[in-house]
Symmetry: D2
Subunit: 367 residues, 4 copies
């Protein structure tokens, strides 16, 4: 179940075929979901409500064939490894993985392992990109249950086409505006006049305060308050985190990717996110429109090579597509997620679809 299944449409640009980040040709997504145990928290035992999501930026080896990329941090109370190199080189050279806060390291080193296996004696090194949000309300996060094999499984399962959303992969134990949430995705096609490119966004959404939730401008969080659908009794002012990954097939240079990444923060804002102090809101954008950025380092390798660059006059459409897709991806993360009970019996409820539709209609949406 997704926002559009309820009649909720964010913005005006058309989505791609699957309304997913995988609409950008070559982008693959895989999840490993870890759910086991119930009852009281026993650190190291469980209950376990966590996982790993991986995004492969293209169908080759990004270590050998990097893509241009850039990032933006709205609020840095979080981690995304590998960013120093993305900023310096303007390139993304690894899959992107999303997991919980305390398993970033194991996932990062497992991506190294996978890279080493692919190219054992290459002389290249690997500085993988791994980001996180905190699932400790439901999950035994202190127990650090993610293992390298979970990462390998996510890599192996990565596929094109529709993307599972909600309580899957890195999003398994996440919540958003005090509703259950997790992974969400959306895409947009920009007009042919601006190149007809696709923008795809995938979020791991764990942010927001109920009273601030806005969907297409409607104050849903005030209408469906915690008096009606309680969030659990967790520290009130907490406001989680959101990671967004933006993909496009446009031929953007690194600084253009960086600019695109900042637009995700505007999509988050439209949905009611405030970049709260306790939030790790970090956004990465990459562009598949140029390949072959690292000619092999053999004798006779070219000193320069050709690129394509999108004329800046057409960037605005991509900006707006990023804003719309980010906003809708967050809604999808909530709409797709089902209620989940985790450690110590703590429950995050799903946003009630019928009530959501009713509210949206009352505020003049949904016809």
């Amino acid at each position: 179940m997704r926002a559009r299944d309820l009649g909720i449409v964010i913005g005006t640009l058309p989505p791609g075929e699957h309304n997913a980040i995988t609409d950008v040709p070559g982008v693959l997504v895989g999840h490993t979901t870890l759910i086991s145990g119930d009852g009281p928290l026993v650190v190291g035992k469980g209950p376990i409500r966590t996982g790993v999501t991986v995004i492969l930026p293209h169908d080759g080896d990004p270590g050998h064939e990097p893509l241009f990329a850039g990032s933006h941090t709205l609020n840095g109370n979080g981690e995304m490894t590998g960013l120093e190199w993305v900023r310096e080189s303007g390139m993304l050279e690894s899959p992107i993985a999303l997991t919980n806060t305390y398993s970033v390291g194991v996932v990062r080193d497992a991506l190294v392992t996978a890279s080493v296996r692919r190219r054992p004696a290459s002389g290249l090194w690997s500085l993988p990109v791994v980001a996180e949000t905190w699932d400790g309300y439901l999950n035994d996060v202190d127990g650090q249950h993610v293992r390298p094999e979970h990462v390998f499984a996510a890599l192996e399962s990565a596929a094109a086409g529709p993307v599972e959303e909600g309580n899957v992969g890195g999003g398994t134990g996440m919540k958003c505006f005090a509703f259950k949430a997790g992974i969400g995705t959306a895409s947009r096609r920009v007009p042919e006049a601006d190149g007809g490119y696709t923008i795809g966004v995938l979020v791991q959404a764990n942010h927001g305060r109920r009273e601030r939730l806005a969907i297409d401008g409607v104050p849903v969080g005030r209408e469906i308050s915690q008096a009606e659908v309680p969030g659990p009794d967790v520290p009130a002012p907490d406001a989680g985190s959101i990671i967004a990954v933006v993909a496009t097939d446009a031929p953007l240079l690194p600084h253009q990717c960086r600019r695109l990444a900042q637009r995700s923060s505007l999509g988050v804002a439209r949905g009611g996110g405030g970049g709260e102090h306790s939030s790790g809101d970090i956004f990465l954008a990459f562009a598949t429109g140029n390949r072959g950025l690292r000619p092999e380092e053999h004798e006779g390798a070219p000193r320069t090579f050709g690129l394509s660059m999108l004329n800046d006059d057409h960037l605005d459409s991509l900006y707006w597509a990023t804003i719309e897709a980010t906003e809708e991806a967050v809604v999808n993360a909530m709409v797709a997620a089902e209620a989940m009970t985790g450690r110590d019996g703590i429950t995050f409820h799903a946003i009630p679809h019928d009530r959501l539709v009713e509210v949206m209609r009352r505020y003049g949406r949904l016809g």
Copy 2:
């Protein structure tokens, strides 16, 4: 006439006494408005629709008594001088001036002149903060009509209390979402539990595309389209710029100010701004909660001095206050502005108050 006079209230935090940046004690605002001539553009003659707005960050000399400050750039297609020093030192040492794009230099040097007059042999130097948006649709911007005396007059007229909005000062010739706009301001008080501080925002609003205009989440720009209230026949995809200045009496350190400044971009986003490619969206935040940051450089000056810092746990209220105040300041800039005809007979119309009220009501606002 302001948003609240129409019943439009953005958010939930209460405004300060004047709902203006001047609600932060010590902050003064002055305008010089330059309107003369009509008819065809003759570069160097007119018509003239421009001016200067100055913000004095406190009632003393910021050159001797700097304040902590920080900035954020959403889209840097604009100028704000002095930012290298703000970033390096974390301090604001000059008044802030807003004007048109081609008069930044004269205003900057005039602030130097004013500073030199105040402290002739001080050995201190001055790197003033001057920002701009482009008023060339109405104004003979190429004619560079702002003179040093206009800056001095704005400084001398700077006052506390209510702030004139709309077609005044640096905002004289500006437009927003293809409606006439200009200067707008708003303020918020955070709860006593978070310190009871005031956040004041002043914008020079010249940004946005009609179809994207949202007010309190309502798609006003789609409802009051250019078919109904035309913007002039100017290059369609243009999207202007917005400068926001955020003031607070909270004792924030420089990095906290920088974080506050980024929240202005979220307020802009909620109103329909996209940080467009052609937009210079630059935000500066300063905090008056610490003074005496530059002990005089005489023999015996203290090597260290005491400061106060807001516990980060209370920052969120200030963030949200910045978001709300920025969003409302933009609406105020539009609501206050009156239609203006400038060079070559080009007219920007005011947003029609009655229609605005009608639309807001239809979408479930205004009771």
Copy 3:
């Protein structure tokens, strides 16, 4: 007289034909030097020891034909206008001008005027790049003596070939390590294996403390102390500023330019600069290896266009060339400058060539 005329050679890479920034094909340099009056300072009268230096990045109009560029700030106690746009767009769209601290505005607006004259109804705007250092020890800097016509004259005089150094243009009243200094330049050719590109650097050098001066690693400032060649009796711990402009004909992308710019800080460090608190050390790098970055905005303009990019594996040579050329440009600024007496009879002495040669020889240089 230049460093190499004394036998001082920094590093190992060969310089270009003129050992100047103008060795990068298309780069032009012009100076307007203002020297008049003697005796006591009368603000607004003089004495005047200042000027303007302009660098034209290529032989066309950079407003129509921008170049990729990037910047780095070692210590931001200074001004370089236009940087927000350079950072955002990755492009340089104006000539670069260097002047004194209090004349940045007039020079900036004069560059706007010049741009408007070149393309009166273009719909493009201009955010010129103007940087400064402080010449108030010798010059009536408070008097703000630079006028628009001085900027126009510098633009008109801009030429290829050898570049005047020392007490000229923006460097007229500057000093370095308490010796008279000003404008300096140098260039390097990288090996053919790395593309045979040229790196040219021009500095306006006004930084450094005598005791820290190092030339090719030799502690010259300790050997030729202020006991031997006094700096004037000015506030002791002052440490001025340095602006460096780096040009190359390599096809660098914006982020590669930014990386190049930071290498200037390493060249400054090798010469004894510390990026002192009172110093405005701002570096801009641009690359002429790609032109045509802004296809005209007419119907049918291409949405994308082709670029060339230097393979990162060859960047190191350009880095090292930037370090060497920056270090040598600073020495050239000192060696070329002659003693100057300014306001209130204050004198900055030239570095004594014979003593310099003697010291260098004693420390094992100069054969």
Copy 4:
């Protein structure tokens, strides 16, 4: 054996008692050194030449009692986790660990584990700071041999006083200018007039090309070339990485720490480092002069708290101390390291002390 034991003294400021980062009161350093196996590389088996170094920023729990901190990246071909939060909050909340490139993750998660053990139900989270350089010439880096227990052992062994240098901890398998290197440290005391503060620097030095090595300005790398003391037959243009951690007891704010961190790049430059493309040159500075930055989050916790700030006029001494200490720490890393043979029989030689002394003397140093 250290630089000063050979008579080599960098700069003029006096070192602290141990000429080590531990001269900053409260700072502790611990190493776990892993050396085993010989002969051909078998990934997963060895030979092993690696380890972990930890720096505890004070004698308490930085998770409960953060310190102000800031960072600078000279060249980001490397990893330092936790920087997003350091930049956002201005605070360091974890020990700092240094290891090899492919073990960053395990070390990072082990620091999380250690943090969780210290405060099991705190509701605080942990975003540890872990940095790396690449030891794959000597070490089976692909084998990822560092284990959590190695991290715990380093934490437990952390102590004040003299710091082991050279082939220890994270520096075990590192080289510098094609000589064996590893961990190095140095410290400086600034004059009493500037507060008498201590600056301590610890580097994991793995950077530099032989021909560029300069020690106190002397071109040592040209004098002791690879013809005389070969580096192994590894890809010639490689230039490794350097991590520097700067500690001070001065009461610096976050932005002042960031400024301090950049000065490490100037120290690296003076020693012949060029921030090469393949280098991960990332610098972190923290200040112990303010504690208690996170009042407990209980009812009645203060909304604001008092701080001390160093008057910027005294920063220059700390800058210069950082430059000197960084430069000397690199020399110490080389002087202390002994020749090491690793995988596949590859050997990095130590810099020959007698030759070094002879060269320094010939160039007018060492009396």
